[in-house]
Symmetry: C2
Subunit: 113 residues, 2 copies
């Protein structure tokens, strides 16, 4: 579907919507590691696992450095901010709305007890 070009936030949110990929991120938060080492505990083929890594790379959440046959992955958390910032922005709206509502009821209380 996605006939539009997916934005950063689209890709990041989609990336973290999968438990396998969140597990990869959690693993990498403890430090960089080789693809095979991270892949080891996951109940899937290495090929399948690599697809997840590529999704994370596509979202900019993971950087890869090749040294010989080893691919070392490293977390690159910056793009995650796109999601948190969007959520925060919308929460701000939401809270302002709640504040106005509270003020309204407070005013009403005063006027008609």
């Amino acid at each position: 579907m996605v006939q539009y070009r997916p934005t950063k936030i689209d890709r990041v949110a989609a990336a973290i919507s999968d438990p396998t990929r969140r597990a990869i991120i959690e693993r990498l938060a403890r430090g960089p590691a080789r693809v095979s080492d991270i892949a080891e505990p996951f109940p899937m083929s290495l090929t399948g696992f690599c697809k997840h890594v590529k999704v994370l790379e596509g979202a900019g959440l993971v950087r890869r450095t090749r040294r010989g046959r080893d691919n070392t992955l490293e977390l690159s958390p910056e793009p995650m901010r796109a999601v948190t910032q969007w959520i925060r922005k919308y929460e701000q709206f939401w809270n302002e709305r709640l504040d106005r509502l509270e003020k309204f009821f407070a005013t009403n209380k005063e006027k008609s007890p």
Copy 2:
């Protein structure tokens, strides 16, 4: 595929990975509204639009109250916290790692200037 039962965070992250659904949320952050009123500016059929609404409902981000033929939608932001909390947890790991790294270099600097 999703052969496992998707968790709350799976559903919320997937829900906000689509620009149409984020736009719906942004609209609802300004206050509740009827389905048709929100749907109006979107370049798609009402049926297609309703599917997006159902995804948001499934993630618990939107609540619906029927009054006659009108379906009024309202934001229910609580599930969003599942995502922000997960990101914050992972960021904590990441920051601790950076802190340790900084300390390591600071110590090294002292010992070999």
